[in-house]
Subunit: 454 residues, 2 copies
């Protein structure tokens, strides 16, 4: 019997745990789900005979080391900043490890030691990062293996609400951490390259510089640029590629309305609003508008941001009760925290709502003097609020990789990400059985300079 | 003979040093000007018999302590972050001290020790902070002494080019540290209170929320909000005042054009532009615009920011050669550093140009059931590029305060700022002899809610 230790039984662990429990009989597995909150772990395993739930405080060194020591492989579903301690224990006790998080500098630094012990630490094998890497590398490798030269790579991912549960004007509900949605794009400018030209978009323009794209059967979407697209050049071996852009997907029109919050200053998480506890939603909105004794907050906002009365953006704002007399009831809150609360009133999933993950890649390349383009799309709809599209797309690749490492099908050692064909090909293949499939089609190459004007 | 040690012989020390040299005979003073760069110190004293120039590295503890020990009073004109070491030496050797900088937390913490040694550490006695404190407190104290109740305090200061040297469309040249101008307003939102309502303006809207004001004989100006107006409530004893706003002055139209740089992202100092060294000004501008093989950077910018061809904003941009083929020639530069270079090409003072300092206060108050308003204005024009308006308004209050402390006319002890009548009244009186005068007039009280609508 082989012991798999899963640390962290949060929402994104559901599909991961189910996959391993379903395989436990034929693969002779024992699954140990460890969480601070033992009942969360128990709920996930539901008295399965091949599993046990344990209470584990990851900061308790003895308990953590004991748990790692007794496992054959360790999956860390903890927040990314807690992986390192687990990784050091795995190194000490000679255990393989799997995470869905970006490789931190500290994790990367363990590479030599991990290799010298013959271990595999597989990271970035969730959705994004994870499925994006694997699905992109599969096409990129094929193009290059056939003698093509990559000219363009664009990749967009979105965590959205499924069409059947899409009941508001924003075509959006919170399907993961709302805070990350509210502060998305803040910090330094977004950076990418198009036709060899570096481009920079500051936060205050990020939601006005979207690109459009179509997902077959799901209509038109928009993408806004992620913070740093350029780091993917070295990751994917695309160092000299003239066009590289990564973005986040929303339904068309979301960003133009979201820009209202950006312009008002409501997404700011860097200072506290005075007496936020006793404010109404209307007071909060008004605090970003010029004082006037009689002009309404509504008209002031429309004038300030030049929103016509028949603009759908206005309807979107009204839908959120931005001007209502409802109390904020949050002490010493930042604008971002208050906005999050207002949005959660409207954008929280209903009991029967389903989520949706969309991913869209564009690959432009030159082959025998001619330019070509391939588009690749994935849509995954959640089953319910336990086996969400997010839980499936994050957890299943982790689960599949874990079993393949455990069974010796993945043997490469070191601190890895899934960009090798031997890793991604079998995992993508198996993901298809779970409905995580990409549809490819050839389209005319467009790029940003189809006529080669210089 | 009394020894006055001045540490730092930068541009803003000219008028300070001249004042003390001019008084040295009758007051029996010896002035020691200490600077890293001895020749800068020598140039300032110009072989005056009552002065000496010394080379001083303020990080050399022995030299610094020796210099402080031999002085009767110490003026630190160093950058604010270097005052503390000097202050500790002054404390040890029992010397009074004067600075034109904001009181830091660390400086404030010395208050008890300074008092127990019977010393005076006078700070914030330059222009802003300094002349603003004194001129405001003089009117506020008078209103309150007469039984009035303060309702409104607004204060604006600007360092600008004198009308006679105002030769560009922006009505602006750099008269102090250009970097501070380029990054002005960044960081957390600006915060103030109007009619009891807290207001917040994010950076991306700061230059579109200006207030207008007139300076008699100098036309119309605009003010944009400073970062934190609210801290002045406790400083000035205005804790319950319903309206308090502090701002920075420019000629009307500057801010609307400056907003173009903000929206493009050119004022960002947080990341480096790729290959900045080999870019042209045009490339730099283009890096903030969407890629297109044939559309010009000019048209892209006009469309992006919706600038009509006959809008004066466009002429202002053209005047700066934003689209020229001139090389940036700065390695690993941030957008803000490149913008600063471009602006310095156009906004550097010519040899015979003069600068100008403008200050405008509004005081609204209630007296016997009626509302009143006083406006107070100061305009100072520089003599030349040595005795600039900035050097006069920063240096003369420092110099006057120094002599008054030395002569026992200011006797209050502790870490102080000039908000006591005994301090500001004689200093403001003497400043009048040097053309630093305020003109007061009564105007109808307006506030932001003249009709008392609730």
């Amino acid at each position: 019997m082989k012991n798999i230790l899963i640390i962290g039984a949060g929402r994104s662990a559901s599909s991961l745990i189910k996959y391993l429990l379903d395989k436990s009989e034929e693969e002779n597995l024992h699954i140990i789900v460890a969480d601070m909150n033992k009942s969360a772990a128990e709920a996930k395993i539901n008295n399965h005979k091949n599993a046990s739930a344990v209470s584990l405080n990851v900061f308790d060194e003895n308990d953590r080391r004991e748990a790692v020591k007794n496992a054959d492989i360790v999956i860390s579903m903890l927040p990314a900043r807690f992986h390192l301690e687990v990784a050091k224990d795995c190194l000490e006790f000679g255990k393989n490890m799997v995470t869905a998080s970006y490789v931190s500098k500290e994790m990367k630094a363990l590479d030599e030691q991990v290799k010298s012990k013959g271990l595999t630490f597989m990271n970035e094998i969730g959705l994004d990062p994870g499925v994006d890497h694997m699905s992109a590398m599969q096409v990129i490798d094929r193009i290059r293996d056939n003698g093509g030269k990559m000219l363009l790579f664009e990749s967009f991912t979105g965590g959205l609400v499924a069409p059947e549960s899409d009941t508001n004007l924003w075509n959006y509900k919170f399907t993961w951490n709302p805070r990350n949605v509210v502060v998305a794009g803040q910090g330094s400018a977004s950076k990418f390259i198009q036709e060899g030209k570096y481009k920079y978009i500051p936060y205050q323009k990020l939601f006005r510089r979207t690109e459009f794209l179509n997902i077959d059967g799901y209509g038109r979407f928009e993408g806004y640029a992620n913070r740093d697209s350029l780091k993917y050049r070295s990751v994917y071996g695309l160092d000299d590629i003239p066009t590289l852009y990564r973005g986040t997907m929303r339904k068309v029109g979301f960003s133009r309305a979201w820009n209202v919050f950006v312009q008002l200053g409501m997404t700011d998480d860097s200072y506290q609003i005075e007496d936020s506890e006793n404010m109404t939603y209307r007071d909060f909105t008004n605090s970003f508008l010029a004082y006037h004794p009689t002009d309404s907050a509504e008209l002031k906002l429309r004038h300030y941001l030049k929103i016509d009365q028949d603009d759908i953006v206005w309807d979107k704002l009204m839908e959120l009760n931005l001007f209502s007399s409802k109390k904020v009831e949050l002490k010493n809150a930042t604008p971002a925290q208050i906005l999050q609360k207002i949005l959660m009133d409207s954008w929280t999933l209903e009991k029967n709502d389903k989520d949706m993950i969309v991913m869209h890649h564009k690959f432009g390349y030159e082959y025998k003097g001619e330019k070509h383009q391939i588009e690749s799309q994935m849509v995954v709809i959640g089953d319910d609020q336990t086996y969400t599209a997010m839980a499936k797309t994050v957890g299943l690749p982790v689960a599949i990789a874990t079993l393949k490492i455990l069974n010796g099908n993945i043997t490469k050692t070191g601190v890895l990400i899934p960009i090798d064909k031997k890793v991604y090909a079998p995992i993508l293949k198996e993901l298809e059985e779970y409905g995580i499939t990409f549809t490819e089609k050839k389209v005319p190459f467009l790029g940003y300079n189809p006529e080669n004007v210089s």
